[in-house]
């Protein structure tokens, strides 16, 4: 069982804020396959297409039959903890700051022997364990030795907390608190134990339904934030950027036009101004502040979440300009991820299918409910993944896109959703 985490003490403002350090980042190209799967929450190892042997560490040729046809396949992670150790010494700054550190050697039932970070709540060797994968603070995949069945408060295990971005005890900025999605996100964060939620509100004079429901929560504070205004972003950053641990950028403009359905560029520009430039303005003000606090105690700055769209992968012509703005946002989010990486701040991108809101009124179901989307964000933070495709539509589009992007493009051009 894991000791439940105590509320972190208030920070002593006299002490220097620790600078973030990262575990070793270098990997071979073939090993990045493990990271690519972990980034979407999957534990995959290479399997030989000819002799079925599971490979680890990642390889260029099968260690049994020398075949080059190695494919990444999902793993159950069931195995036996053969031996364990507790490091009391490390040459690496990241681990030096976190000693003692428990490690295990696990033989998977599928064959290979793996070195793993061993959760404090995992049993002592020899024992049955389950191996899972997480992105570490450097954003690279590492293997974890976990109890076979999840134990109480496991998410608060010291090792897991080092890998994940759990909102518990953290302070979160939600850039748009007024929409149905924004309100659902705020409620989900409060439910997940967030300390403070600042909910952005671009037009304070507008009283939207449901807004009173979130402002009544003691953890929630409405703050003026207009992503189209550099001044507004800068003013809010001056007030709260030094305290924000997680930014959730859910503000968006969504209009339902292609190219010829509307003359002029005003709607498209409004979309770009929030969906793309808004993210840019926000990142320029809040990014540096988050990076400076990547190691600021047990509730340090950890994550940046972008609400993108599955249309960012391939243009959905009836919502053509919106798709384009989300594609631009995706590209910028990749840049942001690269810039945040040295501080250990995870950039999480959400790619939902149509959300059940007013702008998708004419789309047939299934549509993802705002509450489900909000839960997907909390889960992504707890799991520490990078890319989330919540809902059935997003999952299906993703599968189609991965299989063949050109085929998906043709299907979408023909109106097939």
């Amino acid at each position: 069982m894991t000791q439940q985490m105590a509320r972190p003490k208030r920070k002593n403002p006299v002490l220097r804020t620790r600078l973030p350090t990262l575990p070793p980042w270098g990997r071979s190209r073939v090993a990045l396959g493990l990271t690519a799967a972990a980034a979407i929450g999957r534990f995959e190892l290479q399997q030989c297409a000819d002799c079925a042997a599971i490979q680890y560490p990642p390889r260029e040729a099968c260690h049994v039959c020398l075949s080059a046809r190695l494919q990444w396949k999902p793993q159950s992670g069931a195995g036996k903890l053969l031996s364990e150790t507790v490091l009391h010494h490390s040459n690496d700054l990241f681990f030096r700051e976190r000693l003692p550190w428990r490690l295990g050697l696990v033989q998977l039932d599928a064959g290979p022997t793996l070195m793993v970070h061993l959760l404090d709540c995992a049993p002592a060797a020899p024992a049955r364990v389950t191996v899972d994968v997480r992105l570490d603070r450097a954003g690279q995949a590492v293997l974890l030795g976990c109890p076979e069945t999840e134990t109480e408060h496991m998410a608060e295990d010291r090792v897991l907390r080092e890998m994940t971005c759990d909102p518990k005890f953290r302070k979160v900025l939600v850039t748009d608190g007024k929409t149905a999605v924004g309100q659902a996100i705020v409620k989900a964060l409060v439910g997940a134990g967030a300390d403070i939620v600042w909910a952005g509100h671009a037009e304070p004079w507008k009283k939207l339904p449901g807004l009173d429901g979130i402002t009544a929560l003691p953890q929630v504070t409405l703050v003026p934030l207009d992503l189209t205004s550099a001044k507004s972003v800068s003013e809010l950053a001056g007030e709260v950027a030094g305290k924000v641990d997680i930014v959730i950028n859910n503000a968006e403009v969504h209009r339902t036009y292609g190219i010829s359905a509307r003359r002029g560029a005003d709607a498209a520009r409004a979309e770009m101004d929030i969906n793309y430039f808004g993210m840019l303005r926000l990142a320029q003000e809040f990014g540096p502040a988050l990076k400076g606090r990547g190691a600021d105690g047990p509730a340090s700055a950890v994550a940046w979440v972008n609400l993108l769209s599955i249309y960012a992968l391939s243009n959905y012509p009836p919502h053509g300009t919106y798709s384009a703005s989300k594609a631009a946002a995706l590209s910028l989010a990749q840049c942001l991820r690269a810039e945040m990486r040295p501080a250990g701040i995870r950039v999480v991108n959400l790619f939902p299918g149509p959300i059940d809101d007013e702008w998708n009124q004419l789309l047939p179901p299934p549509k993802i409910a705002p509450a489900s989307l909000a839960q997907a964000i909390v889960k992504a933070l707890r799991d520490g993944v990078e890319d989330v495709y919540p809902g059935d539509v997003a999952q299906e589009w993703l599968a189609r896109w991965r299989e063949n992007p050109k085929v998906l493009e043709r299907e979408l051009a023909a109106g097939g959703s």
Binding site: G26, V30, V86, S90, N91, D92
Partner: protein
């Protein structure tokens, strides 16, 4: 495999054991240390530098050079050249291959050298780029170097065979006693079992005195025909048997035995001796659990009897199975790839009467084993030699 067809190593002399004294850190490069070994080999043997027509080098810190760049750096023109990336097995493998080259007439005098420098930063830098598997699958897990992996192996061995920390302590304490008379040993302070037990923990169950200290230094020998050695009036040891094996027992999920076990029958048969006949052993000693495994895997006792074996035997120079008579890496220090030569050089000294004041009495047969390269979860390279006393000056 038909082992009977394997030719012997008759007529090969291993001579001129040389050590460049170890230092904790050095501002010199690896080339300096290897240069010092070669200068000493030339001086001690009385040959000219140009008479060295074969060179075999092992080093971690020569980069961007290899043995190739070294020939130009040191002005050598060998007709046989080898670079062995085998760390702790490199001395054994160097002798084996150089012997074949001499038997075949491809070279007459081969210098086998292992050496490295050690800057304050070198050890940490070596760890991160040690192997592809290490970079992908072990270094990101705490960057402890081989400590974590050998902690797994030690802990698992203890649980499997009832070994106690004290049993490993006996090995370390005996080696320290041996080191007290070794001029170039880094550790010259006696070590008691109590001090061993009280040392700080590094990676449970490995404690401070289970670990070697990285340092700078170099070791080397000359190989030539016995006839040539006699012409030069050099004392030499004869090579009686040699084996090497890589990635043995890959089916074992965790290391419980080394490749020595696979080839030991061949080794002893080739030399025509039994383990009982061996007067001294120089085992690779990166961690004491590996020394214990070598008693088992090289036939001094059965698998799992290692703990009882070290309790019943005296491992010091005056004991009934002198082990790592210089003090080994655990007490002399680990000078990178020189760690693969330290046992070889010491065995040649002992068998040629070149260890004044610390000779194993009447030593005629010595066994040298190597173990190198933790590319992932164990050392991949293993090898062993049996050396016999040859002519002495």
């Amino acid at each position: 495999m038909n082992r009977a067809s394997r030719k012997g190593y008759d007529g090969i002399a291993v001579a001129v054991p040389v050590t460049v004294p170890y230092v904790r850190y050095s501002t010199h490069g690896a080339h300096w240390f290897i240069g010092r070994v070669l200068a000493e080999l030339v001086r001690e043997s009385g040959i000219r530098k140009d008479d060295i027509d074969g060179l075999c080098v092992s080093s971690f810190t020569l980069a961007p050079d290899t043995a190739v760049g070294l020939t130009q750096h040191l002005g050598l023109s060998p007709r046989w050249l080898d670079h062995l990336p085998m760390g702790g097995a490199s001395g054994v493998v160097a002798v084996r291959r150089a012997a074949r080259a001499i038997q075949a007439g491809d070279a007459e005098v081969i210098a086998c050298v292992g050496g490295d420098t050690n800057h304050v930063e070198s050890f940490r830098q070596t760890l991160g780029s040690f192997s592809l598997f290490a970079r992908d699958a072990t270094y990101p897990y705490g960057s402890g170097g081989p400590n974590a992996m050998f902690a797994f192996i030690t802990s698992h061995y203890m649980r499997s065979y009832g070994a106690q920390r004290e049993d490993f302590g006996r090995i370390c304490v005996a080696q320290r006693e041996n080191a007290l008379a070794t001029p170039h040993a880094m550790f010259k302070k006696p070590l008691t079992l109590d001090e061993y037990m009280a040392a700080r923990v590094i990676a449970e169950p490995i404690h401070l005195f289970d670990c070697v200290m990285p340092c700078a230094g170099a070791e080397g020998v000359l190989l030539m025909s016995e006839a040539r050695a006699r012409d030069l009036n050099l004392s030499f040891a004869r090579l009686l048997a040699a084996t090497e094996r890589h990635n043995a027992y890959r089916e074992d999920p965790i290391m419980i035995r080394g490749g020595w076990a696979k080839d030991r029958d061949d080794l002893y048969a080739q030399a025509g001796v039994k383990p009982d006949d061996i007067d001294l052993v120089q085992f690779y000693d990166d961690y004491p659990v590996i020394v214990m495994m070598q008693y088992e895997d090289l036939g001094f006792c059965e698998k799992g009897e290692g703990p009882a074996f070290v309790r019943s035997r005296t491992l010091t120079r005056e004991g009934d199975l002198p082990t790592n008579t210089s003090g080994g890496q655990l007490s002399v220090g680990q000078a990178g790839a020189a760690g693969g030569f330290i046992g070889l050089v010491e065995a040649v000294r002992q068998l040629t009467g070149q260890s004044p004041g610390r000779a194993v009495p009447d030593a005629k047969l010595g066994l040298v084993s190597g173990f190198g390269m933790v590319t992932y979860d164990r050392c991949v390279c293993t090898g062993a030699l049996i050396l016999g006393r040859g002519d002495s000056r």
